[in-house]
Symmetry: D2
Amino acid sequence: MIPFEKLKNTIPKNLLERGLTVLTSESKPIKLLFEQRRVPDRGWKDPQIARLLDLFSSMDSDKDSEAACVGERMGRVASPLVSKLASGFNHGVGSSGDLAGIQPKAAGGSLLYYFANKLATDALKQFGVSRVKKALVLPTATGMSLALALSVARDTTCATEVVYPRIDHNSPLKAIRLVGLKEKIVEGKIFGDSVRVPEGDVEQAVSDNTCAILSTTTFFSPREPDNIKEIAKIAQEKNVPHIINNAYGVQSREIMKLVNSAMAAGRVDAIIQSCDKNFLTPLGGTIVASPNEGLLDKISGAYAGRASAAPVAQFLAAILSLGIDGYEKLRSEQEANRRLLEESLARLAEKYSERILQVYNPVSVAMTLSGGNAKKIGKTLFASRVMGARALDKTDFGVCCPEYFTAYINLDAAIGVKPEDVVLATERLDKVIRKVR
Amino acid sequence: MIPFEKLKNTIPKNLLERGLTVLTSESKPIKLLFEQRRVPDRGWKDPQIARLLDLFSSMDSDKDSEAACVGERMGRVASPLVSKLASGFNHGVGSSGDLAGIQPKAAGGSLLYYFANKLATDALKQFGVSRVKKALVLPTATGMSLALALSVARDTTCATEVVYPRIDHNSPLKAIRLVGLKEKIVEGKIFGDSVRVPEGDVEQAVSDNTCAILSTTTFFSPREPDNIKEIAKIAQEKNVPHIINNAYGVQSREIMKLVNSAMAAGRVDAIIQSCDKNFLTPLGGTIVASPNEGLLDKISGAYAGRASAAPVAQFLAAILSLGIDGYEKLRSEQEANRRLLEESLARLAEKYSERILQVYNPVSVAMTLSGGNAKKIGKTLFASRVMGARALDKTDFGVCCPEYFTAYINLDAAIGVKPEDVVLATERLDKVIRKVR
Amino acid sequence: MIPFEKLKNTIPKNLLERGLTVLTSESKPIKLLFEQRRVPDRGWKDPQIARLLDLFSSMDSDKDSEAACVGERMGRVASPLVSKLASGFNHGVGSSGDLAGIQPKAAGGSLLYYFANKLATDALKQFGVSRVKKALVLPTATGMSLALALSVARDTTCATEVVYPRIDHNSPLKAIRLVGLKEKIVEGKIFGDSVRVPEGDVEQAVSDNTCAILSTTTFFSPREPDNIKEIAKIAQEKNVPHIINNAYGVQSREIMKLVNSAMAAGRVDAIIQSCDKNFLTPLGGTIVASPNEGLLDKISGAYAGRASAAPVAQFLAAILSLGIDGYEKLRSEQEANRRLLEESLARLAEKYSERILQVYNPVSVAMTLSGGNAKKIGKTLFASRVMGARALDKTDFGVCCPEYFTAYINLDAAIGVKPEDVVLATERLDKVIRKVR
Amino acid sequence: MIPFEKLKNTIPKNLLERGLTVLTSESKPIKLLFEQRRVPDRGWKDPQIARLLDLFSSMDSDKDSEAACVGERMGRVASPLVSKLASGFNHGVGSSGDLAGIQPKAAGGSLLYYFANKLATDALKQFGVSRVKKALVLPTATGMSLALALSVARDTTCATEVVYPRIDHNSPLKAIRLVGLKEKIVEGKIFGDSVRVPEGDVEQAVSDNTCAILSTTTFFSPREPDNIKEIAKIAQEKNVPHIINNAYGVQSREIMKLVNSAMAAGRVDAIIQSCDKNFLTPLGGTIVASPNEGLLDKISGAYAGRASAAPVAQFLAAILSLGIDGYEKLRSEQEANRRLLEESLARLAEKYSERILQVYNPVSVAMTLSGGNAKKIGKTLFASRVMGARALDKTDFGVCCPEYFTAYINLDAAIGVKPEDVVLATERLDKVIRKVR
């Protein structure tokens, strides 16, 4: 678009050429992106990402100063700031007919969405789930994405019950109910320190009125990931849809292996993951993936209307910023921080005659609070600016079983956490326990 | 927070005081907002709005450099740009328990949402619907908001059918189906040039299995607004929920009067309006209003999860930028542009032996295309960069009745349109008709 | 640079083409700029300007991620914000050898400067001084630019005295002294209400030791513009350099005509004008113009070192934002506001038995304060937030003559002033006079 | 200014308090700055700096929407972008009477300048020159600042000759000539590999017509720093002003010790250092320091006019971003990179039978190019994107003496350079020599 040849006879030829050489170097990543449509190996710099977003949003029809706009929805904005708050994607993404469909007024928004989806697909593959065929970034919460997937299962099966290995989290339950379904909760049981939902119980819960099995890979210790490989086999045998809530599983190489092997072993209809919990975006987007492209189209087709482009732009920006190398580095750090967290808590546990719960959980660590006062410890910890820890009594919502055998506290070493956070949190927990008891 | 008193003995006292006077003047609007919690009379300048958003987002826990964060979702971002794309509201809005609820990690996001909702409520009241008790900004498309409202009606009535005076738009139909309901379409009929759905037909359609009536105030000419006052009476008599899709009705003083009088005359459970079509925001948000606060809580409670703050921030920015005066000015311009559009099209109609359809529609104007070639005219017009016009044949999806008596084209003079758009669009339509015929 | 052809098979072809059409439309101004290198007729939108600046600054060598930088001055910055504060032009403009010369490390900064100078030249021609051959934007105050020009005159003439028709302003005097010269002030005299410096007196002041005549076109009423046409003739006759301080003269069509006719009639070496007073830029830049390219090169060559690019970027942005049409509109408004100011003050004068001073001055208006208390009126007016008015007693620095016959106050209706400012200032002056007397 | 108490009864009290706690934490650095007026130990984050600049620029009178502006220079701008290019400091800094003086229309700009100067003073002290009384940031090139200082020396001494130990750099020579003075160059001589100007020669050059001695601390190897301690003694004895061009000396702990001991031992009137070469700002500012406050006031008083605030804002931003710790870390890295550079070049030298020149120079390293082809090596190296290296033949401008005994190339390991730059530059130099010979 920029007629660089017209710059002849401005500054000396060799200097101009040097300048254009720099430009060419710096725009090479965009060239590679357009050609390969994959997550770049090395992350982009912020100004490069900003330029890509500006380029795309400049292609939307509301930027066309030669257009005559006589519709009721034309991407008009109250002020330049308002447009900036949307990175210029004033038309959002999708059409009322299909969220993932193209939007005739928004070539740029459509390109944004195209690349976000391409990179989401590639990211899931590169980060461990090679069996994914396609993935979509939905600009909506994980729970709402679950609802969309469940509505498709509902229409396919004409059944009304969702078999739900118990996870004590509100969003999935609300998703089930929003689309007019009912949960059939399969209780968690205690095995050693771990809380698991036995596959046999899941199998037994499946009936003629089962619309879907909704399994989960990530939750707080002592809850372990569901045995999704076995559940996938059950789903296949019983011929019921299987949706995996992989909320923050992408960050974990182990969890992603589980997902891939579940897909190999049995039936998986959709895998749903949070953008912000996995890809360091602001809250608001989900990636829905599937081995079945048609199913994915139905899921996005179930969204009623067009949507904000913000979560899509944020995901694209985040994945370009990270790159494959950056993400793998973060994953390795997550693993190291998970070890650090366990070690730090173990020392603390020894000091207070508590112990670490022996549980398989790649992100979360729990320590007993058998000395009591869990609630107060939790509150005081929050007041001392430790964010994200959860102190629970035996029968609290959160234990995922009728009654756990001890009060406990769990902390997460999730992707993006810093070793300083872990150290500081443990130190403050130390002070809090000393003070409260 | 800023210790201005510490600036003593920097620059001369009287100059410092002058500077602080300017600061005080410029921060007066923020003071008024905090006190009154209403739409300001005069619109704010962009930098003032930016400062408010920055202030709020700086209160979220991810900005706390003294915090130790050990959760799985802590507002971490891949790069400064990614945070900027969310105006710093990395925690989004809402909690998994309640979208409109407060978020313990996000004092700033919670304040943002508090003020957006307060101003949404005030805006609807000031712009004509005084009977609104409360309104919420939902960070989701109009269709999805309809779905949330319908799911509440479904749970209340245990019925499965939505009586739907026919509007040929995909989103409401998808909303109905998403939550497991079925539409019972009441056909449009032709009265003179107008397409209307007779109230009697609506009444007849209501049955024991009616979960809700979903009426509509705004659509393209020759479809007229539903007679929502009579429908509200029917809803009250029959004791069925009544949801008004007021998609782009806020811009019209007349439509807002209709809504208010419907609320006075009968039953209205929820009124749903698009942020972008009414308030010049980027696409992605809806305002759901109700005379019933409890019902509104249920609707927001039906959203599964937390959500992107972007549509909320965009609405707050837009309404602050507009102010009461700015909005009323835009409405007056809309009325003038509506007249200009009708006059311009009338001249064109005369030239080509067509005529303006005589219809009550405060936003949209339609002209016959009895000379044929509607499809081609539509396509050629789009190619000549007229956006938003719709050329339809007699039985196309869009006519809202089994068969209209002529092909026609409609154009909208919606809020924010410029007279130049109207003039240019008419000129180009002239050329297109000449060329195509 | 952007390989749009690689976007094939992303979104549908016709939509992609539409998007590229929008891009092409929106980048047309940049194409015209590169081709014509003139002030555009219609002003650019801010995002277009921002893109041009980003494009240029991306060509500087500090952006080259493939470069190895081993110099002492490589455009390194402490943080991204610091670079943003310079719009990315971290290398500034110029080389230590020549401010207007190209900078080998900064192709982009060199292009920025090239276009700023081209547009400065074109602007002066289009706005009335067709005889200008070349103009340069110097990133330094008007006074410093005067100093540079005077230093060249000094080296040419080997004389030490600057003939200076009295203007009571500090900067020109400091400029003269900075380069080791001395002013020979030619006193102002009163003619009717006007303060003028008679050409005859100027002529008499010229001697063998005259290094230059420094005339002025714009000052506060009752000082009138110097008769630069006659002074130019004297300069030619006496063979002495003539520098015109045209500080805020570009805004006035009349003043620009004077400048042009002076150039036609006699000798003018350099014309110096403030960027901020004429082109609505932030303070910090000057445009130096000349009918003599070689002289201009000497002036820029006298600047010791490289310089901040900020004033250059600000001028380029401002002139692109204004365009020819925008500037002419502002000039017409200035003329209207000048009339409004005189009328408003005249009404006030009548009320307080004062009168408007009858003076030729296209920007400034003065009213007598024969009722006394000028100092207090000035202070009280400033305290009531009227900025820019000057109340002077008969012998104050500012009257430009040994003693004026009355105290007075002057106000300016300069380019960019709003009618509201004029009205408000007059109202407040009314209150102040009432109160003080 | 922000009435946080008015937020009562918005969100729950404890959440609001948490938000305000975060705000308080994050604004603590600003509180410390206002109190202590010193360079912070730890660097600020970019958003904190941006907020400070926004706060200050919001105090300037052009932001006062209640003001009536009727002057010729009111900080008006062509568009919001133009203001943004100046970070809102549209009034610049200084007054026409005194650059370092306060500006009545710009409380914010005056505060900006106050803090920039305070931190510049503190920085020089903290970084090694404790004898500095005061420093000013001048928004102009190093050369122009030299000119200002020389003009004061000229007016004090009424002499016309500047004794100038030879440095082959244009800017100082231009500075001397701009203010009407003449340089008396004292030649460099070769001692071993080093080029030095013997103090005895400097002493001899001083005469009754000496206006100042202009010594230099930093130049490219094999030129060594001037013996400023001895020169300071000479200046004291002979009673002539002594100005030190400390262009990029702040980065070096050793050079700063030299400066301090020179001040202790004899006469130093002014020390002048580049902002960009020392503090990682964009090009355009200088810090002028002195043990004599009155002298400094004269220097800033010699600047004719007000000036762009950009270099001042950039310096303040950079020093806040760096902090004491950050700067000392950069200095330590500079020392390590200097060693790395010497080692890398030594290996290369051995390979090509060249050698490192044995010279005292804390930033620059030079290697012989006795094998010839210096010019071509220089050009090819530049073409291979090595920036900042200088290849010189024996009598080139740059050798600082009549004839050096060999051709050579020098490279700098200046502050901010990365080890990768050093490694890459050496590798490419290797290839270039191989290719060229």
